[in-house]
């Protein structure tokens, strides 16, 4: 890792990080405050205002009674996936493809550092900032729920759920990063780096709406992650974490290797 480059990347990206952390925190606290252990009907009334298709798409079609299932259902099924996804798309594009497209990569490569070292530094920044974002989000969840409903949150189950979310988001970030390394122009790196994970996300929503296309399950990595089942202990967090870790390592590794061997028209 090249520390000066890491520091400079952090300096130019911290504002995006702060914005996404704040947005997630805001949604998290709103969601927690909407939980009413005495009267779960309030949520049901809120859901009645939404069209049925939308409820299905968000995966809100079952009811939850305890706080962690409530969060798993209403927060981790949609918002906790969507915002980190957008964060990954923006950051991955900025870290590699923009430097290549604009030409500033030429200056970085003209320093006595190998391409592998330069691009690994960018990959590390990506991984660390994604993990940080979601750890802060986890902490925000625990703090807000303990403040509003002391003792109501099943913290081990909540941590399990967040571990799975972090691993899933890392796998998503590896897709974005891979395409950012692959193309010379930001329009291509964005088309694939944003297109592929968004497609996965949309397929997952379609899958929730209708059971008539069971094969959709095989077209998206989101289907490996089922928050209600994780909370209920019916899905092995270790197993899916290992699968996501495998995808992450493979795609970051491939991105780094491809970048270090390809022609760069700087």
């Amino acid at each position: 890792m090249i520390f000066p480059l890491f520091k400079s990347t952090a300096k130019s990206s911290w504002i995006i990080f702060v914005v996404f952390t704040a947005v997630l925190f805001m949604y998290m606290s709103i969601m927690v405050s909407m939980y009413d252990p005495e009267n779960i009907d309030a949520m049901a009334q809120y859901l009645e205002t939404l069209p049925q298709g939308m409820i299905d798409a968000f995966g809100y079609d079952t009811t939850a009674t305890d706080l962690v299932s409530f969060m798993g259902l209403y927060f981790y099924g949609f918002i906790a996936l969507l915002f980190p996804l957008i964060y990954c798309i923006i950051l991955a594009n900025r870290l590699v493809a923009v430097h290549v497209d604009r030409g500033s990569m030429a200056y970085l490569l003209a320093t006595p550092n190998t391409r592998v070292k330069i691009i690994t530094t960018q990959a590390l920044f990506m991984v660390i900032s994604v993990v940080m974002l979601l750890i802060l989000n986890t902490a925000a969840g625990i703090v807000t729920s303990e403040t509003m409903f002391p003792g109501k949150m099943d913290i081990p189950a909540f941590l399990n759920l967040n571990l799975a979310t972090i691993m899933l988001t890392l796998a998503i970030s590896s897709i974005c990063f891979f395409f950012s390394c692959l193309f010379s122009e930001t329009k291509n790196s964005l088309a694939f780096g944003a297109g592929v994970p968004i497609l996965f996300f949309v397929i997952n929503m379609l899958r929730n709406i209708s059971d008539s296309y069971p094969w959709l399950e095989y077209l998206t990595i989101y289907s490996l992650y089922d928050p209600p089942q994780i909370v209920a202990g019916e899905q092995s967090v270790v197993l899916i974490s290992l699968i996501f870790a495998g995808i992450t390592l493979f795609l970051y590794g491939s991105g780094i290797i491809i970048f270090s061997r390809r022609n760069l028209y700087l």
Binding site: P4, S8, R102, Y107, L108, T111, P112, T114, L264
Partner: protein, 414 residues
């Protein structure tokens, strides 16, 4: 003697028994040229009556290199001697004797020792083709240590592509290029330690300030010495404190130059270094480049402007549609330069006079005629003296027009 026939410049000179390429006067080397003696001594520079005279470089068979002024074949004036062991002395000379040592230059440590011969940049049958079919084809040339090499060609001729290969940004399709004996693709990291690079397209990390950018690059180089950087900033009157996004084109170019020169490398690769600079700053740049050369640095700079190359470079390569059409001493290039003058005459009949004496005429509009001159200045001036001249201007020309000899008429008319 047909001046366009390059082979006729080569002569076996009986009195020295060497190979001379250049001008002869009374069968003696005169003007600018190269001479290789059978014992291995090689002189490259200015001549008078068959003897090195004026500025030049002699490579002795012992491995010594003297670069500086000569007087009647002897070391004279201000110059620099490199011993075979790499030690170097800068001093003043008279009649071959060292009078005063001005500076003992450091030998350039491991970087020089690894070097087998004096070629710093070596390009061998280098080919790189883009999908569109454009590219560079079978390039062959070398840049010696301590030389400023101009790389001339119009836009799109393959200058930047060559530089991409030298920097290790792309992998050669065929052939190879080395810098100081190291392969540009496989050993890019080692080469970068002693390389200063100025990209042709100015693109920095826009959201940074100039100072932040310079700090980032020197930190990535692991060098903390700011004295050279500060003196460069002062020389180019650069204000690096502002955001790069808001800098003018010229300011960005200066920032690029400081970035390329600040770590005092041994080799420079500069892609159109003076673009965007005003004439005053172009002079500052030329002076800096020549100073670096005198300190033993090697420079390859691309350009599409011959005048700029002439002021800075020792030799130049001319590239056309991806192929090298000539590598020549800039002084001999100067003589094959074809200049256009716009002559405004009082009467149209004078145009006929200019034509009748054999001058090459171009566009004629009203009383103004374009006259091409390549070396035949006497003929041109004699002819003008017999006419009534109302105006005389130098016409601006493209590189293709200047070097019609290398580019051919079809390239110019296109």
């Amino acid at each position: 003697m047909d001046k366009n026939d390059k082979s006729s410049y080569h002569h076996n000179i009986p009195f020295v028994g060497g190979d001379y390429s250049g001008q002869l006067e009374n069968n003696l080397p005169h003007g600018w040229g190269k001479l290789l003696l059978p014992n291995g001594t090689q002189y490259d520079g200015e001549w008078k009556e068959g003897k090195p005279h004026g500025e030049g470089t002699v490579y002795y068979p012992s491995g010594k290199i003297y670069k500086g002024e000569f007087y009647k074949g002897k070391k004279h004036g201000y110059g620099k001697l490199t011993q075979p062991d790499g030690k170097r002395i800068k001093g003043t000379w008279e009649n071959d004797k060292l009078i005063k040592i001005l500076e003992k230059l450091k030998s350039r440590d491991a970087f020089t020792k690894r070097q087998q011969d004096k070629d710093m940049i070596n390009i061998q049958s280098l080919t790189f083709q883009y999908g569109s079919g454009k590219g560079i084809f079978d390039l062959d040339f070398t840049v010696e240590e301590g030389e400023v090499f101009g790389y001339l060609g119009p836009n799109g001729s393959g200058k930047t592509t060559t530089i991409r290969n030298l920097l290790g940004f792309v992998k050669p399709g065929n052939g190879k290029c080395t810098i100081n004996g190291l392969d540009c693709w496989n050993n890019a990291r080692q080469i970068q330690k002693e390389l200063g690079y100025l990209p042709g397209e100015i693109a920095f990390i826009d959201e940074m300030t100039g100072t932040q950018f310079l700090n980032l690059i020197s930190d990535m180089r692991g060098s903390r010495d700011k004295s050279r950087r500060d003196s460069l900033i002062e020389r180019f009157e650069l204000d690096p404190s502002g955001r790069i996004r808001k800098m003018s084109k010229g300011m960005k170019q200066k920032l690029g130059i400081v970035t390329a020169f600040m770590h005092d490398p041994a080799v420079y690769i500069l892609d159109e270094p003076t673009s965007g600079l005003d004439p005053l700053m172009q002079n500052v740049f030329v002076k800096l480049a020549l100073e670096e050369r005198d300190r033993g640095k090697t420079i390859l700079m691309s350009s599409h402007n011959f005048e700029e190359t002439y002021r800075t470079c020792d030799r130049a390569g001319i590239i056309r549609e991806g192929r090298l059409v000539a590598v020549e001493d800039v002084h001999s290039l100067k003589s094959s330069q074809r200049k256009a003058y716009l002559v405004t005459l009082e009467s149209r009949s004078d145009i006929e006079h200019l034509r009748s004496v054999g001058l090459e005429l171009g566009n004629i509009s009203k009383n103004t005629v374009e006259v091409y001159v390549s070396g035949n200045y006497n003929q041109f001036i004699d002819a003008l003296a017999k006419c009534n001249i109302l105006g005389l201007e130098v016409a601006t020309q493209s590189l293709e027009q200047v070097f019609l000899k290398y580019y051919g008429r079809e390239a110019v008319s296109r």
